[in-house]
Amino acid sequence: MSSVTLLPYADFLGIRIAGERNGSPLLVMPFSEGLLNLQGMMHGGAISGLLEIAAIAAIDATLEEGEDPRSVFKPITVTVDFMRPGQPADVYACAEVVRVGGRIANVAVCAWQDDPDRAIAAARMNLAITPPVEK
């Protein structure tokens, strides 16, 4: 797996790489109060943010190792299904890259808490791949 850089937004959510699972980066979003909704459960938006970051990390991991800044991935469509309430606890996520073409990447990603077989949320993302911005 090539080196993976997480989005700046990952820092805001406290997300870090916790390992690897089926060849994709395994991410963890440690519990913090800033992730909760008004009902005391994990906010759907925070879980969606984790899913997005895991999806992009997984695509990043498939790309060639190199000196250049990584490509920019822009979501075109994002669909998130919520299967179980997000408890106030750490959330894990790992993506499966379905296909990376020249322009589009299709990714499936899922999030869980204590049991990887009991997903709390899953997303499909279709992203546009654009070359890195010249600095």
Binding site: P8, Y9, M41, K74, D81
Partner: protein, 142 residues
């Protein structure tokens, strides 16, 4: 105001949580819709080079506006949970701009609320993204 549900009152009680952390602001409310905004913040971007906001904060904005639209239509702050959300990105947000999300609850059944909405950065006729979503109603809705 047609709804018995007052977003400002609920939000005033929230001292922490994701809405506070992101700085989501309640903007406006109608009989079956709510509008929230998020100010630009470099910590929320997807790429330091482009400065474009990540999808995550926009999802949080739209999920929040959608949830509040459902409470508005239900007329009370009752238990509910997001079932699914879909965002279609028509274009990237412009760096530096506040993003506003307006979401309408266009159908309420006994168990499910259906929402649709638009995220824009100043001109609602030129949206950043379209939202569709559903929420499960867990309390006693009307």
């Amino acid at each position: 105001m047609a709804s018995g549900f007052d977003p400002a009152e609920i939000l005033a009680a929230a001292k922490a949580g994701h809405i506070v952390a992101l700085g989501l602001r309640f903007v406006a409310q109608g009989p079956d819709w709510c509008e929230f905004a998020i100010d630009y913040d470099r910590r929320l971007v997807s790429d330091a080079g482009t400065g474009i906001l990540a999808s995550g904060p926009i999802m949080s904005l739209m999920d929040t506006a959608g949830g509040f639209a459902v409470w508005t239509r239900r007329g009370a702050f009752l238990p509910q949970a997001t079932l699914d959300l879909r965002l279609d990105y028509l274009r990237p947000s412009r760096p530096g701009q506040t993003v506003t999300g307006r979401v309408e609850c266009y159908r309420l059944t006994r168990r499910i609320a259906f929402v649709r909405g638009v995220a824009h950065d100043g001109d609602i006729a030129h949206p950043i993204a379209h939202l569709t979503g559903t929420y499960m109603l867990l309390g006693d809705g009307k």
